[in-house]
């Protein structure tokens, strides 16, 4: 009697159960989710493309001509490329060094270091940039003043309002991407080849350079591209550090196109090269990482042994902590000081101490309460809806529920190549005119965040579903449950921790979002990041510090809470 059952099972598994599918009452849900995702991606990109080809006279290429002949715009593109290149290089140096030390050596205090890397990852780059203006402003910056008082020099040690300063800060908040990538690879390389080299007489350092490094080379390139892309899409840091020095980047220039009278056509035309560049780079990265020519990487078999740092253990640890203090300790310290001081540049004495910044930020300034509420509402809503949709899509592609399901992956991951500000341009064009007017409400932000966070939600849930075998689901379905019931009763409980992780990643991504929000907010739909940016333009340092600390505190609480529920590190590689 078990034979027919097995056959059904096989047909379901192989995706051949067409007859069954037609009767499946849950089919509209799968199709609906798929169509929704396709619509979510196509509308903004389509809008940008169409707008870039029109001006008041009709179909034209003049927008492109104008954008690519005007010297100021070309300069912005050039600045962006130079900055992103160096950010990529520095992020790879820091990220891979840290990843290698944490995974392949006997460096002490690894958990702490991972936690600090995660803190850098969670810190919104615009907040880091702001903190660094207080630390390394050429004349009033605390570090420069310290340097002058110690050395007696007249000149500052470091001017953060330069291209170098901008690269430095952006690299500090891009390296965690490289770190997680390299750490994953380093975990997987077995020590066999290194042992062989050892037997042939190579010393530790030679092994690291000639064996480990080449093995991780594709991942290094991949990490470079990831950091490059990340810095390409940043808006807050260049606006805070670049504009005061007269430096425009692509993102700040797109934002400037929105000033009155708005040049939506130019903004669109200017977005297209950014879009093409990111697409090209992602394709390149896929090619590099997809080429599994390094058979030793990706296997599970071999043993992994840790390199002993010997007498360098402590100095190396200090170096690592030094690097991380640049992205975590120093910025957090100055934010805390600025939040509690009347004058941030003076020592924090009892006379200089105040809680007035908190009172002003939370109670007197009308915008903040509404903004805080909006931010967390949007965070929770987007994370919840985003996790559900991402899970549905991941389930479809993983279990091959629809024909052409693998093309869905393309649509879900597409926002990866759309920088936030470009997405915002598209959404602004699409939703400020009939039939759907979302501009002026929080819903346009919701759509933006949902789109932007879809890739991270998808990749999280997708890897979770991959690890759950369909057998149990199949069993429930044979017992008469439909797919949705099976999903709800069996798969979701099993996937619980993966789903919670996806939720918290989306939540944290949303509450720190600036580059799309800056174009899409209206005074009725402000969020905290936008309020911080507004305050920055007026120089309200104390209030910014207070709100920044609030964002960080909430992010860390969410992470800690989730780690407690899930019982593992969110940011951990396989240990």
């Amino acid at each position: 009697m078990s034979l027919p059952g097995t056959r059904v099972l096989e047909r379901i598994r192989e995706g051949r159960g067409f007859r069954l599918k037609r009767w499946d009452p849950t089919l509209p849900i799968w199709i609906g989710a798929a169509l929704f995702v396709v619509f979510l991606m196509l509308l903004p990109v389509g809008s940008i493309f169409v707008t870039s080809l029109y001006n008041e006279l009709g179909l034209t290429l003049r927008n492109y001509l104008e954008v690519f002949t005007e010297e100021a715009y070309l300069k912005a593109i050039w600045n962006t490329l130079v900055i992103s290149f160096w950010v990529g290089v520095i992020a790879v140096l820091i990220g891979s060094l840290l990843a290698w030390l944490v995974t392949r050596t006997d460096l002490p205090w690894k958990r702490g270091i991972r936690a600090l890397v995660m803190a850098s990852f969670v810190t919104p780059p615009f907040l880091g940039a702001f903190a660094w203006t207080l630390l390394a402003g050429p004349n009033a910056g605390l570090l420069n003043n310290l340097y002058r008082s110690v050395s007696g020099a007249q000149e500052p040690l470091f001017n953060i309002f330069t291209m170098t300063g901008l690269i430095f800060v952006m690299a500090l908040y891009s390296f965690p991407y490289v770190f997680s990538m390299i750490a994953n690879v380093c975990e997987l390389i077995s020590s066999d080849l290194e042992d062989a080299a050892n037997i042939l007489g190579a010393n530790k350092w030679k092994i690291a350079l000639t064996i480990t490094l080449p093995l991780t080379a594709p991942a290094l390139f991949g990490g470079f591209i990831l950091a490059f892309l990340h810095s390409l899409s940043l808006f807050g840091a260049p606006a805070i550090l670049g504009l005061p020095a007269g430096l425009h980047t692509i993102t700040t220039q797109i934002w400037a196109f929105f000033q009155y009278p708005p040049r939506m056509d130019l903004a669109a035309a200017f977005s297209i090269p950014l879009l093409l560049a990111t697409m090209g780079l992602i394709a390149l990265q896929k090619k590099l990482l997809g080429r599994r020519g390094y058979s030793t990487v990706g296997g599970r078999g071999g043993q992994k042994r840790l390199l002993s740092l010997g007498m360098f253990r402590v100095p190396v640890l200090l170096l690592v902590l030094g690097i991380l203090s640049l992205s975590v300790f120093l910025p957090y310290g100055i934010l805390l000081k600025a939040a509690l001081a009347k004058a941030w540049a003076l020592p924090l004495t009892w006379e200089n101490f105040t809680l007035g910044n908190f009172a002003f930020a939370f109670f007197q300034y009308g915008d903040t309460q509404a903004a805080i509420l909006n931010t967390f509402k949007l965070g929770i809503l987007t994370a919840t809806v985003g996790t559900i949709i991402a899970a549905l899509i991941a389930y479809i592609t993983n279990r091959q529920l629809l024909r052409g399901a693998r093309y869905l992956t393309f649509f879900v991951l597409a926002p990866l190549v759309i920088p936030g500000i470009v997405l915002a341009v598209g959404l602004f064009i699409a939703y400020t005119r009939p039939p759907i007017i979302l501009y002026g409400t929080v819903w346009i932000l919701f759509v933006a965040y949902l789109t932007k966070e879809m890739p991270i939600g998808f990749s999280q849930t997708e890897s979770t579903f991959k690890s759950i075998h369909p057998e149990l689901e199949d069993a429930t379905r044979i017992m008469g449950a439909n797919r949705l019931q099976a999903l709800k009763d069996i798969t979701v409980p099993l996937a619980r921790s993966g789903l919670i992780a996806a939720w918290s990643f989306i939540f944290i991504g949303v509450i720190r979002e600036l580059s799309a929000s800056i174009l899409l907010f209206t005074p009725q739909s402000k969020v905290v990041s936008v309020v911080i940016f507004d305050l920055k333009e007026e120089g309200q340092i104390g209030a910014i510090a207070v709100l920044g600390i609030l964002l960080l505190a909430v992010s860390f609480l969410v992470i800690l809470g989730v780690q407690r529920i899930v019982g593992r590190d969110l940011f951990a590689t396989k240990e």
Binding site: N139, Y365, R433
Partner: protein, 336 residues
């Protein structure tokens, strides 16, 4: 007899004109809210809003503060998307109100409290009133720059000894700076700014921001900036000195108007009347260091009288016409 009757009539007329009627207050209370897009510095606009809310309990003022040019951008973006949220619009770029009036985006409202304001503080057709005025001045940090070496004139700012020591705010953000740039361009031509840019200035956005930058010593000299905010920062005990150049000081009158499609028109009218009352205007003068159009307002003793200064006034129409040019050339010289 006739004289006292006349006086009675006048005083009756004054009380009738300056105080909003019970009906008007009732209508405003029913709306319960007024949404204010303003470029007045955040602490000052919050203070004014609270003054209003204390007097008219039950009517909330939503303050949305950003730079003048951003306020205009918001208003225009929302108008083009058909969104009706703003009640009262206030920026420091008088040209904006020429534009908004021309586009039919303002509500005509002859404020009773505005009767006594001088000509430079009101639109002849009753669409807007100057809510406050300030100057764009030079300032320096006396801890870092001695009074003797401090620049006294606009031209002295061009000296290369100030290289990397100055800060400017941005006309693409601030209406005060927009006015400042036009006033000085009319005086010295664009050459002035081309020369100034060679000193590698630190560029901030708001006209209020240079005060903090000068006070902290990040850049010891401000080549422009809102005088009232410098004054406030100074009063808080920060090291700042303000200079009013003899060659002339740009005067910035910041208008206020009601939006044509204001969702709370009665509250907007009540708020407009309120901010033009002597109480409100005197508060702006006493606590915020602003000048006003109200003839009865008195000013702190340590502030110069406007009539003792040579003022550079600009024509709102010209400000409107040259807005794009000013932003473009500024970016051309200063880079962003």
């Amino acid at each position: 007899m006739k004289k006292t009757f006349c006086l009675m009539l006048i005083s009756l007329w004054i009380s009738w004109t300056t105080v909003s009627s019970a009906q008007e207050i009732e209508a405003a209370k029913k709306e319960g809210k007024v949404i204010w897009y303003t470029s007045l510095a955040l602490p000052s606009s919050t203070a004014l809003a609270h003054l209003f809310m204390n007097k008219y309990k039950g009517i909330e003022v939503e303050v949305h503060r950003t730079g003048s040019q951003r306020v205009l951008q918001r208003v225009m973006q929302e108008a083009s998307a058909g969104i009706k949220t703003v009640d009262v619009i206030h920026t420091s770029d008088a040209g904006h109100f020429v534009l908004l009036k021309e586009k039919g985006l303002l509500l005509k409202y002859v404020a009773k409290g505005g009767e006594s304001f001088p000509a430079g503080f009101k639109d002849s057709d009753g669409f807007y009133y100057g809510m406050r005025a300030t100057l764009s001045v030079i300032a320096y940090n006396p801890k870092l720059v001695s009074d003797k070496e401090a620049p006294k004139t606009w031209k002295e700012l061009l000296d290369s000894k100030w290289r990397a020591k100055q800060v400017t705010a941005h006309p693409g953000y601030s209406g005060i700076i927009m006015t400042h740039v036009l006033a000085l361009v009319k005086q010295y031509g664009w050459n002035y700014f081309q020369e100034l840019a060679k000193n590698k200035l630190h560029i901030v956005q708001s006209a209020n921001d240079p005060a903090g930058v000068v006070a902290s010593g990040e850049r010891p000299v401000g080549v422009n900036g809102a005088e009232y905010f410098y004054y406030k920062t100074l009063k808080q005990g920060n090291p700042i000195k303000i200079l009013y150049p003899k060659e002339g000081v740009p005067l910035v009158v910041s208008p206020t108007a009601i939006a044509k499609d204001a969702p709370h028109p009665n509250a907007a009218k009540l708020f407009t009347e309120f901010i033009l009352t002597k109480t409100a205007q005197q508060m702006l003068a006493d606590n915020e260091g602003l000048y006003t159009g109200h003839p009865e307002v008195t000013y702190p003793n340590d502030k110069p009288k406007l009539k003792d200064l040579k003022l550079l006034a600009v024509d709102p129409d010209e400000l409107e016409k040259r807005n794009a040019e000013i932003r473009k050339r500024f970016v051309e010289f200063f880079g962003a």
